[in-house]
């Protein structure tokens, strides 16, 4: 209990002091998370929408269970896979992305992508199947039908964004393996928490944890406001 209280105090203090090392960690956390999220959304929303709309794609009976599995991928396994991909002998070794933020973004994109695809697909499938028919009857092209249906499923798609964001900002296994938790280079909030806990700096670790939760909360608060606005007209 005392540790908790101290952790909270320390967190406030750290924040108020604008400790440069801390700001750097927070900045990198946000940078890696948001870029990975953006890539996952740009790729995942169209794929998810296509899967949700076209119910008769060949290979669907294998593809969909694969995506569902992907939604629960153990981050450590993704980290290992990305590590091998980016290591010197790996197929993407020439990029020299191992132990860099770019490598971490690759790993987190792999974690977020199936979530975005799977949840977008579910959201689109939840739209009344007669709606695309009505749009077609109004003279819509396939592209217009897809866009209208996607917009109609916007509340569910926002949930996909929230789930993907939450899973990668709080993820530690993959960024630890691929990033290496190098101070000033690849240290993010989660890996810093692991390190400080190991060193016995519980108060500092807790402070970092509180900051992480606050970041998640603030972002989700914004998402929720967006969702509320979409529920109306």
């Amino acid at each position: 209990m005392e540790t908790l209280a101290r952790g909270f105090g320390e967190a406030v203090q750290l924040l108020l002091e604008f400790e440069p090392a801390l700001l750097e960690i927070v900045g990198l956390t946000l940078q890696v998370t948001l870029i990975a999220l953006a890539i996952a959304l740009v790729l995942g929303i169209p794929i998810g929408a296509a899967l949700g709309l076209a119910r008769r794609i060949p290979g669907r009976s294998v593809l969909v269970p694969l995506i569902y599995t992907g939604m629960g991928l153990p981050p450590v396994v993704v980290g290992l896979f990305t590590y091998l991909l980016l290591s010197n002998q790996g197929p993407m070794g020439s990029l020299e992305w191992l132990f860099t933020p770019s490598g971490m973004i690759v790993a987190q994109t792999i974690i977020a992508l199936p979530l975005v695809v799977g949840l977008t697909m579910a959201a689109v499938q939840a739209v009344d199947p007669d709606l695309p028919v009505q749009m077609r009857a109004l003279g819509a092209t396939r592209r217009q039908i897809a866009l209208t249906t996607l917009v109609e499923s916007r509340i569910g798609v926002t949930a996909a964004v929230v789930a993907a964001y939450g899973s990668i900002i709080s993820e530690v296994g993959a960024v630890m393996l691929v990033g290496g938790n190098i101070e000033g280079e690849t240290r993010v909030l989660t890996t810093a928490i692991v390190l400080e806990t190991r060193k016995g700096n519980f108060a500092l670790a807790l402070a970092l944890g509180i900051i992480l939760l606050a970041l998640a909360f603030i972002t989700n608060f914004v998402f929720y406001r967006l969702q509320l606005r979409q529920g109306g007209p």
């Binding site: 009344d128 028919v133 009505q134 077609r136 009857a137 003279g139 209208t148």
Partner: protein, 240 residues
């Protein structure tokens, strides 16, 4: 008189069941054709075929002189629209729902036109109302406004007044009639209410089990039906 649709040997099958089975049917340019018939007769399915939403399993539908197998050009598709039995509206405002029909067809978003239609259908106060707050009859009128705003040359109506009070039924029938006459639109109206066909349609057809049992001038259809099924249907007997 030119024909808008000419159906020959059209059969539409779901699974094992032949739901529409029409040897010959012509729908004439500029007419209002009423279609009555018991539930499950295939009326809605026929409208889906006429709107090119499905392709008949067997047979041809000739539309304005051309038969299309599968791919119907966009410009042709956009001449036709349907107001479905269940109004399918987007979870947005009333005006946004009507605007989308114009947007889809690349038409200029004419807010004045939208207001004009909402006003005509007694929905002027609901312009900004969210769809989920509408009553069933209001939703039905929004769906109708959305179809009429794009000025289709063929309008297919599936039970357009099922949820409406007599005043609004009259209003909508008047509107369909005046647009049909003003623009030479061709209209097919499926209705459960024989009296609606009697008031509105130039010709009326009776569908039973996928077949057109009788079709004729509305006047004659009601006063002097040729088929025993028609007489039974108009009496209110169960026909199938």
């Amino acid at each position: 008189m030119t024909t808008t649709y000419r159906l020959s040997g059209v059969q539409h099958v779901y699974g094992e069941r032949c739901v529409v089975d029409i040897a010959h049917l012509s729908i004439l340019e500029g007419e209002i054709l009423g279609i009555v018939g018991p539930s499950g007769a295939g009326k809605s399915t026929l409208l889906r075929l006429l709107n090119f939403l499905e392709t008949p399993t067997i047979g041809h539908i000739e539309y304005r002189g051309s038969a299309y197998d599968g791919d119907v050009p966009l410009s042709v598709r956009r001449e036709v629209t349907t107001v479905f039995q269940r109004p399918m509206l987007l979870r947005r405002s009333v005006s946004a729902n009507i605007r989308i029909a114009q947007r889809i067809r690349g038409g200029a978003s004419g807010d004045a036109l939208i207001d004009q239609w909402l006003d005509r259908l007694g929905l002027a106060d609901l312009t900004d109302a969210p769809i989920r707050t509408l009553s069933a009859g209001e939703a039905q009128r929004v769906a109708l406004a959305r179809a009429l705003v794009v000025e289709p040359s063929v309008l297919l109506l599936d039970e357009p007044t099922g949820n409406l009070d007599p005043y609004n039924v009259g209003l909508i029938e008047h509107m369909v009639r005046s647009d049909t006459d003003r623009r030479g639109m061709t209209t097919v109206v499926v209705t459960h209410d024989p009296f609606q066909a009697k008031r509105l349609a130039d010709r009326t057809a009776l569908m039973i089990s996928g077949r057109v049992v009788e079709i004729g001038e509305t006047e004659q259809f009601f006063t002097d039906p040729k088929q025993p099924e028609t007489r039974a249907f108009l009496r209110g007997d169960l026909v199938y």
